[in-house]
């Protein structure tokens, strides 16, 4: 495979084969980001594809000094954040089932009649388990958890991206994590990895 800078330069000239090499290199990463944000394969596929299309169209603005992986990762996350917010503005019918985390009241959903068995210790299952919990969060809590726990951004960076005060971000992260913790305790989820 040609080196990445070369592929980017060729992509900037509209060379689709070069861009495909970049796709091959980064599609797993992009898909993973989209899946973490969206929580299901259908939405993840859509958003990951949109992210690549946007990257293809915007590659003229890409600077070689910055990492392509980080750049496309940010594009993907932005796409997903936009989509989550769009959905927030257009609440769907399952709203009633969503969590209410205001005023420190953690109202749990009806407990799963078949709670996750304690023997689930494999990474995949654990990851899937947590993904399900995160999927239940309201968008404003979901996005802070994604930015903090998945992307590893600082509170300041999150506040900047979401255009919220640092206090709001701290409060949301705290509530969301507290909720996750309570669920994990309640369901007896344990890992020893």
């Amino acid at each position: 495979m040609k080196n990445e800078m070369e592929l980017i330069a060729q992509s900037q000239q509209g060379n689709m084969e070069a861009f495909e090499q970049l796709v091959i290199k980064y599609e797993r990463k992009v898909y993973t980001i989209a899946y973490k944000y969206m929580g299901n394969h259908e939405d993840a596929s859509d958003l990951a594809q949109e992210a690549f299309i946007k990257a293809y169209q915007s590659i003229g603005s890409f600077r070689q000094e910055a990492g392509f992986g980080t750049w496309i990762g940010r594009i993907t996350a932005n796409k997903c954040l936009d989509e989550l917010r769009r959905r927030k503005r257009q609440p769907h019918s399952s709203l009633d089932e969503e969590l209410e985390l205001e005023d420190h009241q953690v109202k749990l959903q009806l407990k799963d009649p078949n709670p996750s068995p304690l023997e689930e210790t494999e990474r995949k299952e654990t990851a899937a388990y947590l993904q399900n919990l995160i999927n239940e969060l309201k968008p404003e809590y979901k996005e802070v958890i994604l930015l903090r726990e998945f992307e590893g951004l600082s509170y300041e960076e999150i506040a900047q991206i979401l255009n919220c005060s640092l206090g709001t971000i701290k409060s949301r992260i705290s509530r969301a994590r507290n909720y996750l913790k309570e669920r994990i305790i309640q369901e007896g989820k344990e890992v020893t990895l």
């Binding site: 330069a9 689709m16 796709v23 599609e27 600077r63 750049w71 890992v191």
Partner: protein
């Protein structure tokens, strides 16, 4: 607030290493005395382990993802071809826009020319970013960089009626400025094509934004900045539309976000650059960030005059 309550509040941030020295000492002392808090800490650490596992877990795209993506990407790029072959007014225009974008991209890769470029760099960044929101992003992004793709937008059943209306409205507003060159090269031979031109031209902010960097591009003799417009008309049409303010705000914020990200990247990963190049590169990004921040302020204030001044500067 009791010590226990205080500790409970601080525990979540304790594991994130976000406490002051005093808070940290307090927590560490308290958990030796309070079994409940010690238990809470263990639970938080357990949650953190699960979060780590989740965060590190890669998800493989489903079968067919790559093929589907490449199909879509190819469609995006191939949409340019048929119109290009017709040598229409618009395809000629697109060619110039792409030339500009490429020239801009090439220049951006050369730290040496950053300084000369700095005064024009802002206009090259802006059009790259989406004008749309939510799921419309892809379509509007196509609109931004590949004007022909407006065809699929105008004809797309998913496109909201009101947006169509806006596009058509702007088309008619801009008709006068685009009509001459369009009819000169493509004398009403294809009505579908002329409707394409009508509906795309108003959305085509790129030539307007790129045009100010034209004189600086090396092969500028090939680029007719007058033809690449419609400058003022496009700005007016855009700014009269409240929806566009929102889109511009979003687009500018996204630009800022990406610029800041790239700055951070360059700051932390610059072994391939000399000190001078690094300095020039950062200075240029800073200038772009500053300009975009000014643009954002103008957008937030809905200050058309300031916005136009910045964009056309």
């Amino acid at each position: 607030m009791t010590d226990h309550e205080r500790c409970q509040e601080l525990l979540l941030f304790y594991t994130d290493d976000l406490l002051s020295e005093e808070e940290r000492s307090f927590v560490e002392k308290h958990i030796t005395e309070c079994s409940l808090c010690a238990k809470s800490l263990a639970q938080i650490q357990q949650m953190n382990t699960i979060l780590d596992i989740w965060a590190q877990e890669e998800i493989a795209p489903p079968e067919g993802f790559h093929q589907e993506l490449m199909k879509r990407l190819t469609q995006v790029s191939e949409k340019l071809v048929p119109i290009e072959q017709k040598k229409s007014w618009f395809s000629q225009r697109r060619h110039k826009i792409v030339s500009l974008a490429l020239a801009a991209a090439v220049l951006l890769m050369m730290p040496v020319v950053y300084k000369e470029l700095a005064k024009n760099s802002f206009v090259m960044i802006i059009p790259i970013v989406n004008h749309g929101t939510g799921t419309d992003n892809e379509q509007t992004a196509q609109r931004s960089t590949m004007p022909e793709d407006i065809v699929s937008i105008a004809d797309n059943g998913d496109t909201k009626g009101e947006q169509k209306q806006i596009i058509q409205q702007r088309s008619s507003e801009l008709g006068a400025s685009t009509e001459n060159s369009s009819t000169a090269n493509e004398p009403a031979e294809d009505t579908a094509e002329s409707s394409v031109q009508q509906s795309t031209a108003p959305e085509n902010n790129i030539p307007m934004l790129l045009s100010s960097s034209v004189p600086e591009i090396e092969n500028s003799e090939e680029i007719d900045s007058e033809e690449v417009l419609p400058k003022a008309a496009s700005v007016n049409a855009t700014l009269e539309d409240e929806l566009e303010w929102d889109n511009l705000e979003k687009q500018t914020k996204e630009t800022l976000d990406l610029l800041k990200l790239q700055r951070k990247e360059i700051e932390t990963n610059n072994s391939n650059l000399s000190d001078k190049e690094l300095e020039a590169s950062l200075a240029e990004i800073d200038q772009e960030i500053k300009k975009n921040e000014q643009v954002l302020t103008a957008i937030n204030n809905k200050d058309k005059e300031a916005y136009e001044k910045l964009v056309n500067n």
